[in-house]
Symmetry: C2
Subunit: 383 residues, 2 copies
């Protein structure tokens, strides 16, 4: 399912031995066409892993025929040798599949700073190529897991074409620098420019607004490939909507599976003068460690929300700020509103609604609480 649900794709996931656990760790997704239009977005971190540097070049011409992904090592901060490893991986995939290396994207996830065990990885590529199947999507989704407790897949079909996606990354709370990888496939007929526009528009309001711990990865990559195998030409709006739905579905799964989290927190900012203000305010709230600890403790500490809003440059007047937590308006006009003891934080879902009363724009940021388990997971990763 997932990336192999659209026509024209095969995938596989195998165990190459990169992970000490013996879990699957190499995935391959191949676009058999007839078209090979492709698009991608990458981390904005200036320290970029070798596979990011490679894939950025590979997708530049708007064409990809395959994506190879490995867990068990990020191949980041590995110098020229690390880049050569990525190049060699792409060449190997190309040779096995009879395609060109510049049509192969590479994604890696895991610990930063260590070289990959190349003989194991290349043997894994051979194995994956032999295992490729039109129903191999779920195996591929399994193989890209790191600390994800489950594989993440979404499929949507509309108007004769299908979009599928898989992702890994335990909601940016993941150890290993929150590495988030995503592959999206579609059998719609489209061109690379339209696909890139759809992907950029989708990630802007989905992956870019998941901010579980504020830490930006060196490896984040979202690749989209279109086979055209449905024969159905997707209108730009149609395609964009379907890609956005798939990204949103994957984001919800990322947040729900965030390592160590006990809450899924939706920070909704309304009444902003512009969308950038709304995003800035939402992000500031989502990154406030004191608030995140309070939520872990089921404490509707709205003062910490206001203090976070106060650190931004957004347009607002402090004495007009309203905050509701799970439907109870605990802050009205910058001061105490309804009794905070009325807020029920017993469940996993938390909705923080902030009204800046400065305009009409809105944005939503998704995050998690800050828990003992987060500290535990992330203090014991590379050792």
């Amino acid at each position: 399912m997932s990336v192999t649900s659209p026509k024209g794709f095969r995938a596989a996931g195998v165990t190459a031995g990169l992970k000490a656990s013996g879990a699957p760790d190499v995935a391959l997704v191949v676009n058999d066409g007839p078209r090979t239009d492709a698009a991608a977005v990458f981390t904005r971190n200036r320290v970029q892993a070798a596979p990011v540097l490679w894939s950025r070049q590979a997708v530049r011409d708007g064409r990809l025929q395959a994506v190879v992904l490995n867990s068990g090592g990020a191949n980041a901060c590995t110098g020229p040798e690390g880049f050569a490893d990525t190049h060699r991986t792409a060449e190997h995939v190309a040779q096995v599949l009879g395609i060109s290396a510049v049509d192969v994207a590479v994604c890696s996830t895991g610990l930063i700073g260590d070289r990959l065990p190349m003989p194991l990885l290349l043997a894994g590529v051979d194995d994956a190529a032999q295992s490729l199947s039109a129903v191999g999507g779920s195996e591929a989704a399994e193989a890209i897991r790191t600390t994800d407790t489950r594989a993440k897949q979404v499929v949507t079909t509309s108007n004769g074409f299908t979009v599928g996606g898989m992702a890994k990354g335990a909601g940016m709370l993941a150890p290993g620098l929150a590495t988030m990888l995503c592959v999206i496939t579609t059998d719609a007929v489209t061109d690379a420019g339209s696909l890139q526009a759809a992907l950029a528009a989708a990630t802007r309001v989905t992956f870019d607004r998941v901010d579980a711990d504020g830490c930006m990865s060196t490896n984040d990559t979202v690749v989209a490939m279109a086979s055209g195998a449905s024969g159905v030409e997707a209108g730009p709006g149609e395609l964009a909507a379907a890609v956005r739905d798939v990204c949103a579905g994957l984001c919800a799964q990322l947040i729900a599976d965030a390592e160590g989290a006990t809450k899924e927190v939706r920070v909704e900012v309304v009444g902003a003068a512009d969308e950038d203000d709304a995003v800035e305010v939402g992000r500031s709230i989502a990154r406030n460690n004191l608030l995140k600890c309070a939520l872990f403790g089921n404490d509707p500490n709205w003062g910490r929300v206001l203090a976070a809003v106060g650190t931004t440059d957004a347009a607002f007047e402090p004495d007009r700020l309203d905050v509701a937590i799970n439907g109870v308006q605990v802050c009205r006009g910058g001061a105490a509103g309804d009794d905070r003891s009325g807020v029920d934080l017993g469940g996993r879902d938390v909705h923080i609604l902030v009204d800046l009363h400065a305009g009409e724009q809105t944005a939503t940021i998704w995050t998690n609480d800050l828990s003992h388990a987060y500290v535990e997971e992330n203090s014991a990763y590379s050792t």
Copy 2:
């Protein structure tokens, strides 16, 4: 000691009953002159507590005769009523001391959003005024503690004048939105402008570079008062150096007493193109939750350092970054350097040295690790 070490000052700390624990919670520091030059710096949070709004006005003319401080409530986000409470507190202090309310600064610390119990507070002011003593500094320092495990005081004497200081705030890791309050006193003869310049220069490289959890308070206030009682005129450089020493000493105590922290982390950035770059990089590292968890776990995870550097706009080339942790150069030229297993993180002190190789400027940011105890303290504060 501390704020009463310089000549011309009396202080007191009393129990007014604001804290459920029955610990001291109201402090008063009075400048008996002959001079009343004063200066202050405040939080840059746009959501400012009532006492910050008041004290900013009070110090505008460069004169203060008293500072009243309370723990047990921040009086932040309390609306016009909260401001009236602060005003009334200043008026009461003025009446009791026979001075003008506009020469009284007010500082509060504790939970955001609740009104202060004014009858208790005003009775505490009466009590404090009656208890004022030229050796009352330590009692005042005790009364401003919230979760601080010990009072924080520093005194320095040089060239015939003395500077004393007290502070509260468990290293920005404190619950209650990290409220940091500080009172500095000196018997040097100076003018308000020189004192303000000395204070601003000192806080820029001390309090402003303590960044334990990235959360900016609504109440942060540093007040300085000069009595001139030594009769010694301090040169601007002399005064600035002494004030900086006192601030640096208080910062070291804040970091050492940070709630829940097991490490005191010095992030030193060298080779920066300019000082702003060095500060931005240091702050980004200091705020990286994944790195802070790794340090808690004694894991010299330099990859997380590089990923944090990569999120900044500072001038650097990724393949020229060097990182040393506690003297071991674990990253050289953006890739693995010496064996990370050689890093000893067994003690409390951690030194992270980052060389950007982009210039000659440097900056140091002080922070802590992210521990189970931090989560515990901050998830259980207002409840």
